[in-house]
Symmetry: C2
Subunit: 316 residues, 2 copies
């Protein structure tokens, strides 16, 4: 399975932050950064790049913004080859708030978009390229996109200068055959570009979908420590590294930061495989209803959750 | 994915019992039996078939023996089409202790064996067939078997009267390509026989390995409620049923028994994905060291566990 082109991106702070409003301590984020450094992880996505007027710092932690001063506190004193990335949502970052890459500690900006936003995503991503950043475009929720729209979006992306496009299973509803089908489609439509994979674990298929994507040519692999991420979470980076057996990665530093920093969060935040996330995944729906349910006192009443989802006939 | 030949076997009590010495209450076992009945599950493996002199009932619960009187307490008053199965380990059941099928509430006996025990397994399985039971042979730990020995064992099995042979990933170390390779080997060697799949979740691949086995022709599918089983546990039956979308199965009864009966056990017993199980899975080793570690006060010291495993150079 060794392929030197493979790059692993740890998204623990960015995707995990969706579960705690990015309220990580500096100690946590520095711990992840040190671990990625020691483990040879290629990229660390440290949060969202957001204009300060869009959210209040009273409500969300610093990693919703990724201001350079915040980033500096993390990297200070840790010599590292890890490249830092931030995710940009369409409409939440003013172009003037993106500094030239030379003035930023960020190396990469990843633009997340839905299929109808592809043109806006290309515009934003190419703007970031012109400012000196590496960029990707991550087309979300493709399991709900009809293939005609997807083909159109992919052909627009093919014509762009953006070098890396992600296949994103936002709802955790895909399995090996759907991943293989889409990877072949992406590969055919996006010749010469790198394909990335970002999987969610609603049906406990995030790790295997990442493997299937690798087999079908994906070279940018998203993963998080202990799978920490929205809802059912992501492909666990420690399994991915153990699986890859790639000489550039080391497992031990990842296990160290999991036991020191990530396990305590697991007692406070219910990411990972839980039945409500299975239900939304199996229904190919956004996990938001399941996340609300998991935040409620009746979180373990799965029968009531299915009934609330008004889909008894399908899922009973 | 609909294929009418597919049969699902719930192994919660048998494989989950490896985590609590089969100390389930009758209420628990009846709950699982009722849920399997309501959900349309084809088989329920309710424990091991063991001679009473091999273990003491002071140490292990009734589901280590599956005496007919114990079985009767479970099925009493629950009309059901679920077939009951018990697993027999080579050397732990005297032939005289196996009643004729007509005198037993068991429908099936599954013989578990290692590759060097295939001849003994065939002898025992054919003995059970002659007594009127359905039988399978489950060849364990094949991820450690060299292919010459495996080919020899499969050719012996091919000549037997045993109709169903299981591919068992005892250590949870396989992934889609290894499953596909072995499924093709089993299919070629065992023409006319049914192939089953029994997966473990050390690398979060039990569900996907079951899917890959289905795609490659497996028609007997083992799974457990919430994945409850030895170490990292098994393919979760609720995910499998949600995935199959087979009209004969219903999800809701499975979710009901999970919330009522299985969740409480999850607070007491550490099955499922935990780092020590990942380590043994990635090393293709038996989970026993990881299970001991998870029973110790330092269960969350993963760095110490890897060092104990004396394999730092490979896994660091």
């Amino acid at each position: 399975m060794y392929r030197k082109e493979i790059k692993v991106m740890d998204c623990t702070v960015r995707d995990g932050g969706l579960m705690n409003k990015w309220q990580f301590s500096d100690e946590f984020v520095r711990g992840v950064y040190q671990a990625c450094t020691d483990a040879g992880i290629d990229y660390m996505e440290i949060g969202y790049l957001t204009s300060e007027h869009v959210f209040s710092r009273d409500e969300v932690g610093p990693w919703k913004f990724c201001a350079n001063a915040d980033l500096a506190r993390i990297v200070d004193g840790i010599p590292s080859n890890v490249k830092l990335s931030a995710m940009a949502d369409i409409g939440r970052i003013d172009l003037d708030d993106i500094p030239p890459a030379g003035d930023s500690l960020l190396d990469m900006i990843r633009v997340a978009c839905y299929i109808h936003q592809v043109d806006k995503a290309i515009f934003l991503a190419e703007h970031c390229m012109d400012k000196g950043y590496e960029v990707t475009i991550n087309v979300m929720a493709v399991s709900k996109v009809n293939e005609h729209d997807l083909d159109q979006g992919l052909s627009d992306l093919a014509l762009s200068r953006v070098p890396t496009i992600y296949l994103v299973d936002s709802f955790g509803s895909m399995y090996c055959e759907s991943i293989e089908h889409l990877m072949k489609k992406y590969q055919a439509a996006l010749k010469g570009k790198t394909i990335g994979i970002h999987a969610h674990n609603n049906m406990q298929l995030a790790m295997s979908n990442t493997i299937t994507a690798i087999i079908n040519g994906a070279n940018m692999l998203d993963a998080t420590l202990l799978g920490m991420g929205r809802g059912a979470g992501n492909c666990p980076v420690e399994i991915l590294v153990a699986f890859l057996k790639n000489p550039k990665y080391r497992l031990l530093p990842l296990l160290k930061v999991i036991q020191e920093q990530v396990l305590p969060w697991q007692k406070k935040v219910d990411w990972g495989y839980h039945i409500p996330y299975l239900v939304t995944g199996a229904m190919n729906e956004h996990p938001r209803d399941a996340m609300q349910w998991m935040d409620s006192p009746q979180k373990n009443d799965y029968v009531a959750f299915i009934k609330k989802m008004h889909d008894d006939e399908i899922l009973e």
